[in-house]
Each structure stands twice: as structure tokens, then as C-alpha cells.
Subunit: 361 residues, 2 copies
């Protein structure tokens, strides 16, 4: 038995070194005589763990001092409500760009609380591109403008030039690209990410929010959805997901040891290029996304023949490449190659695809 290459969209691969460290510390963390899982969140030992996680977020993402870093529960789906509840207090209007299922769900939830203006959508072509926008399309009174920075399901990704040119506060879901590439925090009011792709286990949501945006909330906002409550209590208003935050800290330490986000981005670009170059040269496998909007993290591809797709997925699994089946709305295959996927994993996948192509043409 040996470890597989796991191309899951999330939860997803974690660095083996991180898992080994977690295993070694499971029954006794340092000289505390207890597992991190058993620690009181009010103990100084645990305070050091959460402080370390926050410090690493700040260092690795170059988070400016006028932003608050929160570790919350409830995933992106909770943020879909928390964002309008915390930001939609002035005009009660927001702009959304619909680039996939998650942006759509975010907009649907927001519509329950505020007026949502769907500025643009790429639904016409199964979300295979990022729509162009220009300043005139945005509501100057909007409380914020929402984008999904990297679309896990469809494999599209914002580049600098398509970031909305709006005066409103920008909010971005960066769940599937956080710490995989450099992002200029200053452009955004809120950036948030579920941990289970690039940061650690499921059950922790990283929320980075500019301080001046934390304040009033819509009436009826549950206390647990108020950013102010979590800021005032250092993410410990109630018991946080203590072990998940510890794991996140271990992953961030690994990122730092690898040279930080800048170095990982170079590796991620190399990994993605290996797969995209092959897709662009293959007679059998084709990428589904327009080249200029391709994600570094999530790479969907198809053969154009559903039976052949299914055969590929089954043979890939047997060969140790798991979770490579595409999302049902796109079909075919998808390789999610987050930070923890080594370059060898992508190379091995491409070799396997070449072999499959040769055997099945």
C-alpha cells in the first residue's frame, strides 16, 4: 500500500511532511502532555498556536495592518450570507459576477438580504471563460462587488486585467487559489477561503477583512455571522475548530519552508504548464477553458466521448490517480493540482494520459 496522487477538488492532498508531523504530535504536543485536540482553547499553549497561524497568514499573504484575519466555521456557504449581512448596510445593493456555481449560490443567498445586480455571467458557455466588464457596468452605489477569483468546478481564473474596475469594495472568494499565487490584498475589502483546498482540513474558513468594513450588520444577523464579534474575540468568541487551525498552521509553515507563496506560484505555474501543454498537443484530451482564463489549480478536460472519459477515470484510479472525474455539470475529467500536489504527480498523470491515448486511439 502507498499514497496515491489525489486530484480531488477539495478536501484535497496535504503535504506528507505535514501529516507525518501531525501524527507524531498526536498524543503529546511538545511538552504539554496532551494532544492539540485536547487543549483548552483558553490555554496559553493554544493561544500560541492560533497566534502563530495568524502571523503566518499575515506574513505569507502580506496582509496589511489595516486588515483583520479571522478563522471561522461554516465554510464559504456561511460567508454567502455573512457578506451581505456585514457589508450590505448602506445602499443595500451589491454587484455580482456569475462565473460558476459558487458565485451563483453566493448571489442567490445575498438576494435574500439585499438587492443583487448580476453584472455579467459566463453561463452561456458553461462558465468556460471569465466575462469582460467595464466600469460603466458597475453600480457606483453598490456596497460591494463580488467575484469568485478561481472557479473550482469550471477551472477558470481571474487575471489582473479582468478584475472589476469598480469604486465599490471588492469581495473575493479565493478558496481554491489562496496561497497558490500572489494576490494584492489592498485591492480587496474581503478575501475569504475555505481551508480544505490549499490550507488544511475542512472546517476552517479564513476571512481577511479590511478593518473599516467591520461594524454594523443587517438586522437579524446571527451573532455568529458578525465579523465584529469574531474580531473582538480574536476568533475565539466561542470554541474555534482548534485542531483545524493547528493543521492550517502546519501547512503554512510548510509553505514558508518552501520559500513562500511566490516560490509556490512558480512551481504551480510549472505544474499547470505541463498539463496544459499536453492538453494543447493531444489529439484525444482537450481543455475546456479558453486559454487566457485558465486556472492554475483546477484543470478540467474531456475526450469528447463519455465512454472514453469513464474508461480513463477508471483506469486512472486503478493506477493511483484518484478523484479525477469531472464535476457533473462539465463532465469529463478534472485535475485539481493544489500546492500540496507535487510536480511528480502532474508528470506521472501526463505520462499516464499519453499511454492511455496511445492505447485507445
Amino acid at each position: 500500500m502507498s499514497r496515491v496522487y489525489n486530484f480531488s477538488a477539495g478536501p484535497s492532498m496535504l503535504p506528507l511532511e505535514v501529516l507525518e508531523k501531525a501524527a507524531a504530535e498526536m498524543t503529546e504536543y511538545g511538552s504539554t502532555g496532551q494532544s492539540v485536540m485536547e487543549m483548552s482553547h483558553r490555554s496559553k499553549e493554544y493561544q500560541a498556536i492560533i497566534d502563530n497561524a495568524e502571523a503566518l497568514v499575515r506574513e505569507l499573504m502580506h496582509v496589511p495592518d489595516n486588515y483583520t484575519v479571522l478563522f471561522l466555521q461554516g465554510g464559504a456557504s456561511s460567508q454567502f450570507a455573512a457578506i451581505p449581512m456585514n457589508l450590505g448596510t448602506k445602499s443595500g445593493k451589491a454587484d455580482y459576477i456569475i462565473t460558476g456555481q459558487w458565485a451563483k449560490k453566493a448571489a442567490q443567498e445575498a438576494e435574500r438580504y439585499i438587492k443583487v445586480n448580476k453584472v455579467a455571467s459566463s453561463a452561456d458557455k458553461t462558465f468556460s471563460y471569465i466575462p469582460e466588464t467595464n466600469k460603466s457596468m458597475f453600480d457606483p452605489d453598490a456596497d460591494y462587488c463580488y467575484i469568485c477569483y478561481n472557479n473550482t468546478i469550471y477551472g477558470t481564473h481571474y487575471t489582473e486585467k479582468k478584475i472589476p474596475d469598480t469604486d465599490a469594495v471588492l469581495v473575493a472568494d479565493i478558496s481554491s487559489c489562496v496561497m497558490a499565487e500572489e494576490i494584492d490584498i489592498n485591492k480587496f475589502g474581503i478575501l475569504y477561503a475555505g481551508a480544505q483546498k490549499n490550507l488544511g482540513p475542512a472546517g476552517v474558513t479564513l476571512v481577511i477583512v479590511r478593518n473599516d468594513l467591520i461594524g454594523d450588520t443587517l438586522e437579524g444577523t446571527p451573532t455568529m455571522f458578525k465579523y465584529s464579534i469574531h474580531r473582538d474575540n480574536g476568533s475565539m468568541y466561542n470554541t474555534p475548530p482548534t485542531y483545524g487551525i493547528y493543521m492550517l498552521g502546519l501547512v503554512l509553515r510548510w509553505i514558508k519552508d518552501k520559500g513562500g507563496v511566490k516560490e509556490l506560484q512558480k512551481i504551480n505555474e510549472k505544474k499547470a504548464k505541463i498539463l496544459y501543454d499536453f492538453l494543447d498537443s493531444s489529439e484525444m484530451f482537450k481543455g475546456t477553458v479558453v486559454p487566457e482564463d485558465r486556472s492554475l489549480m483546477n484543470i478540467p478536460f474531456v475526450t469528447g466521448d463519455e465512454e472514453l472519459d469513464a474508461k480513463f477515470v477508471a483506469e486512472a484510479k486503478a493506477a493511483g490517480f484518484i478523484n479525477i472525474k469531472g464535476h457533473r455539470t462539465v463532465g469529463g475529467m478534472r485535475a485539481s493540482i493544489y500546492n500540496a500536489m507535487p510536480i511528480e504527480g502532474v508528470e506521472a498523470l501526463v505520462e499516464f494520459m499519453k499511454k492511455f491515448e496511445a492505447e485507445n486511439k
Copy 2:
């Protein structure tokens, strides 16, 4: 270095065997070639893990078929809002009994959504008892009646005869006594518990809800707070806290191997008796709760002298009895002796207390 006796109120001790199994499986779970933390929640391997956890909850707690078992995020603090949002849809009124800080917080959050009738309170004596009630005190139109079954901070506990005699649906926070004693589920409409005391790591909330209570919600209820959404999606509407649920499954397996809740209750009664008997005989240490309402799980005690309390806490810590300091609202000490605290831990603590008393009289 060796493991300490951890008397934390939560997160708290876990069985060493469980931690050892988690460590052994950390890098490769069974023959899957991956950590549970890395598993797609949509994989059949993970489905088996969450199904097993639910089956064990049903078996160990004798959950009737007309109840739904949910694994949610956000802790009890999220349930404080979710309960009125899901149940307060008919009369928009509920009865609360205020037996401590958590019941009070639950009532405060509920008041933001519905009319709350505070039926009784034990605030007059620092929540050191469970108030008596009778049927005439309850609102026959209330959508539900809320109690905190075991009060972690104050060490009080409901017994059969004090359970509210109301026709309304009973809702109970059982965070600090779940699976530590037998509870007749049929008496309740909703029972819920944060996992971090008796069930596993922080970040998972077990909610057991009678099927007929799942339906409409108050307007503005976030999708993530709707029980119907989580029921319809088998607790996987969004990515659940996958590793926490796995750990909970390991703890429940351990409970089953120990003979189930009935057997653990016997051990818990024995453990509590050892400590209460000593408190009742000591010249120095006194329990703070009236005998008839004493908790099996959380045992606060004081010397009556703050300096002596502090000295005891410091010396206890040095001797490997950690997190024994009482909550600031009660002062003194508190020993939380959940399922995972072995009888030897309680015996050793009492021996230490005797020695301290002899040395400091």
C-alpha cells in the same frame, strides 16, 4: 514527558487509544492511500465514515427512527440562533430556563428573533442549583421550551424530576453530558451538543431533531442555519468538518467498546462519587452546588480563600493535573471529568487534594 490528567471543561481529554489510532491512520487510512483529512467528502470512502458516525450515534443514544441526526458546524453558539429560527415559526414565543451563562446567551440570541419568556432562573445564587418549576409557569402556546441539561460552568445538572412539565417541545443543550449518561430522546424535540467535551474535537456540533420539527424557518434564516437543508443533504450540503466527524466516529467506537453509554454512566457515577465524597468530608475543599443538582461531569469547588485556591491550582498543574482553575464567575477550582477521564485520574486528584489539605491546614 508523559500525558497529563486534563480537567479542561472543553476541548478536553480524549481516550489515548483513540488518539493512537488517529495517529496510526494519519497518512494512510485503510487501503485508500490517503489521510481522512485529504478525502473528498463526495467519495464512497468518506461516505462510509460519516454513515458509521451516524449509525453509532443512533445505536449508542437509542435515537428513534423519527429523529434526524445532523453533524453541523458553528458550535452551540450557532444553535442559539438556529433553534428560534427553525422552531419559532408558529406562536413566535418560547420558554427558557436560565441555569447559567450558556442558557442566558441562548435566550439573549433567541430574543433577537422571537418573544422569550424566562420562566425561572438560578442567577440569585450564582447558578448553584436547578430551579423548581411547575406546569402553570410554562406558556402552553410556546413553540418550545429550552433548557441546558448540564451546566459546564456551574456544575449543575437536570435530574428527571426537574425536567420541565410542559406540553411544548423540549429543547436541550446536552454539550457537556452527551453520551455520559442515558437520556430518553423521546422526551425532547431537539438535543444538541458541541463535540469538544464528550465526543471528539471542537468544530462539530451534533444535532438530533425530531422529523416533524424540520420545515419552515423564520424569514432571513441563513441557508446554513436551516435544518431542512442539512437533512436533505445528509449533513453534506457543503463540505462538512470531515476529520472532526471521523474523530467523533473513533470516540463513539471507543464508547461502544466500553459497553456503551449505560456502562460509561456507571463509571461516571463512580468517578463523581469519589470526588463529591471527598468534598463532603474535607475541611478545606467544598463543592459549590446543592447536592441534589450536582453534575456528573463538571465539579466546581473552592477553599473559601482565594490565595489558597491559586496555590492549589499552581501546585496541581505542576503535579500534572491541568486546567483545574474554576471559571471566573465561580472562582476556585473546577474538575471536568468527562468520559475520557479515567477513574485513576480522579483518584489521583483526590489523593493530591488530601495531601495539599494536610500540608496547608
